[in-house]
Each structure stands twice: as structure tokens, then as C-alpha cells.
Subunit: 120 residues, 2 copies
DNA sequence: CCGGATCCTTGTCGATACTG
DNA sequence: CAGTATCGACAAGGATCCGG
């Protein structure tokens, strides 16, 4: 198993910049979204999301989010098979950010994306 | 001048996913942050931000954000020299998202990033 | 000079095949 | 089922060049 060496690179002391150092990509916040919407989730349940993340990207994001303690395994000691991931308190605290983001998209992106819906 | 062909790819109808289709990278929200914090800003002022975006990335992001009407030129008809970018109403509406994100980072990232400060 | 555009290198993403 | 290995495509970074 490959796991992160814990050495994060921070571009500046700005909190927003730091948040984006962790979450500034197209997938990390989608993983958090799935966990907020559906509760604990297994590897293959993440793969079933409509955005279709690929397996290696999912594994690397789960690894990073675990290292930074935004998520954790539901049963750390059990075999990885059928084991799930869940939010920590830190990950769950991203809910207001995601709500603000979803609200913004609903209000300001519908001109460009007619098929967008209220919530998945 | 090269400009975007307006064809965005949307991964799903989910608003959060759609927001991340636009803003899910390490730089776009930092541009919005600069505009919220400092008001209208020129090309070289963006380059002076402590995170040091490179010129080509900045140009392509400004172009995309302009196409999606999150930002606009302060004086569209004037020469590009010394012209600045400012937020539209749509871009300004991202303030709650950035505030939530900054608040989250301040509360949950300081264990990993000791040098982080309240606000830049 | 300022606002980019271009070139080139490096790194990350994404698809698919594969393994315990 | 939960990942890992591999490889090609593409995006980011960095330096420099150019038009006004």
C-alpha cells in the first residue's frame, strides 16, 4: 500500500489558499459531498457516483483526505474489504462551504448549464 | 488574443459538481479572493500575490472567468494596458463560499500548517 | 514598461488492465 | 471488492519573447 509521506506544500499562510492546497481539485470536495449526502461509503460506492472518478485518483484522494483527518475508516482494524469511509468532525465541518457552493451554482451557473438540478 | 469557445463540459447535473467544474482548481478561487479583498486588480497585481501564479495560467483563468461572467474588465473598450478586472455580481456572490472555506481552514488545518494566519 | 502569448519541461490526470 | 501498475494525454510551471 502506498501512503502519503505527510509532507504538504503550503503556498502561503492564507487560510483560503491553504484550503485550496488541500481541496483545490475537481474530486476531493465531491468525495466529501457523497459522505455528507449518503453517510459512510465504500470504495465502489464512490465509483458509482455519476461523475465517474477513476480508481487511481479515488485511491490517492482517499489517502490524502485520510492523512489530513477529514475522513477515516469506519472500522480501522478490519480488513479493507467491505470497509467504508466516513467523515471526521473536520470533514463534516465542510458542510457550510459545500452548501454555499451549491447555492451559488444554482443561482449563477444555470445560464450556462440548463440541465442542472437542485440537489442530487 | 485567444478566447474560449464557450464549450464547458459538465460532469453531472449536481450543482456542487458544476461549481467544481468551473472553480475546482488551485487558482480560480484565489483570483476571486484577491478581487474580494482588494477590489479591482490588474494583471501584474495578480502576479504579485504571495502564491505566485504563472503568467499563462493567470491569462487562461482570467479568460475563463470572464467568459462565465464572474469577472469583467473595468473599462472594456479601453486598451488592455493598465486595465483592471473586477467582480461581477455573480463573482461577488462567491463571498460566502470563500468565507466558509477560510473559516474551515482556520479551524481545521492549523494542526498541519502552523504558520497559517487569520487573513492575508 | 505592461499584458499577455509562446515554447518547453515537468508533473498530474485519466483510462484501462491487472492483482491480492 | 479494494485497490495498484502502467502509460499516454494533457495541464501546470517557468522562462522568455513580443506587440502596443
Amino acid at each position: 500500500m502506498m501512503h502519503h509521506d505527510g509532507k504538504m506544500e503550503w503556498r502561503s499562510p492564507c487560510p483560503i489558499s491553504s484550503a485550496l492546497d488541500v481541496l483545490g481539485d475537481k474530486w476531493s470536495l465531491l468525495i466529501i459531498r457523497d459522505l455528507i449526502l449518503h453517510g459512510p461509503r465504500t470504495y465502489s460506492q464512490f465509483l458509482d457516483a455519476p461523475e465517474h472518478i477513476s480508481t487511481n485518483i479515488l485511491a490517492s484522494r482517499l489517502d490524502l483526505l485520510t492523512c489530513l483527518k477529514l475522513i477515516e475508516r469506519t472500522n480501522p482494524d478490519a480488513a479493507s474489504r467491505n470497509n467504508a469511509y466516513q467523515l471526521t468532525e473536520s470533514g463534516a465541518a465542510l458542510r457550510p462551504t459545500l452548501e454555499a457552493m451549491g447555492k451559488w451554482a444554482g443561482a449563477h451557473l444555470s445560464d450556462f448549464h440548463a440541465d442542472m438540478v437542485r440537489m442530487p
